[in-house]
Amino acid sequence: MSARIGIVTFPGSLDDRDAARAVRLGGAEPVALWHDDAMLRSVDAVFLPGGFSYGDYLRCGAIARFSEVMGLVRDAAGRGMPVLGVCNGFQVLCESHLLPGALVRNAHLRYRNRPARLRVETAATAWTNAYASGAEVVFPAKHGEGRYVADEATLDRLEANGQVVFRYLDNPNGAMRDIAGVSNEAGNVVGLMPHPEHAVEALTGPSTDGLGVVASITAYLNEGAAR
């Protein structure tokens, strides 16, 4: 049976359909989750897509944190369920304290849309195990508030624990230590600013590298099932 990946739609989510397409192209089954529903529909993993949840009006992701579904996601993540947040989804995870740090206004103050070259720093997460550590991938990066910040002690800890998952090769936003994506300590929760779900078809994306994310979660879940 293929893995069931829940994709959350908040009011203002934009990439929910695209995330579902990526999941489908990667051979898993997308399951729509609604922000206001108090159920996770027995999904095996959760994907928080990009967009502007609640308009991103106060701070990106700040209001989405209070949704019904995030309460469930927080509990499930605590029990080890894999959770991925992309762009706005990453912001929601940071605001929900499921991931360390915060995402603030790009240093150059503009929204910028460019393909980003990234290095996969660790394959030891639920969402990156299909890549080789150190592999180079290209995902579109497009955001106005994607500069990753945390205090120095936190950054040192992330580096030491192998929680820096993706690093920019050409830092597009001033992120500290070129960080594009991080994980929690257990490695089941991952967030990144660039969009793997927009790099799944040669026809529409700068690469098809994003399929690796779906391959990773599928492999991770299969392995779990086998155990």
């Binding site: 308009g55 009006y57 106060l58």
Partner: protein
């Protein structure tokens, strides 16, 4: 050293979608008695100790740079003027 605060708020007749979004989220925190939320900018300006006309200069900065007169109002307040 002079510290000045410039508060920039949207004019009352201008839609403030940020404020509306926060207002809409408050019930989720269990807060139900708020009538309105408006969100603006707070700008803290720190002048060189030698400056004596910090307020005047801040007026200029606020008027020309910090506020967009078409949609925003501002107020200038001097926090401390202990210039030598």
């Amino acid at each position: 050293m002079a510290r000045v605060v410039v508060d920039v708020m949207l004019k009352s007749e201008i839609l403030d979608p940020q404020g509306e979004a926060v207002l809409g989220a408050l019930p989720r925190l269990g807060v139900n008695d708020v009538k309105s939320v408006r969100i603006g900018k707070r700008v803290e300006i720190e002048f060189d100790p030698s400056v004596t006309n910090a307020e005047e200069q801040s007026q200029i900065i606020a008027d020309q740079l910090l506020a967009n007169p078409v949609i925003e109002n501002f107020t200038v307040s001097v926090l401390s003027e202990d210039a030598v």
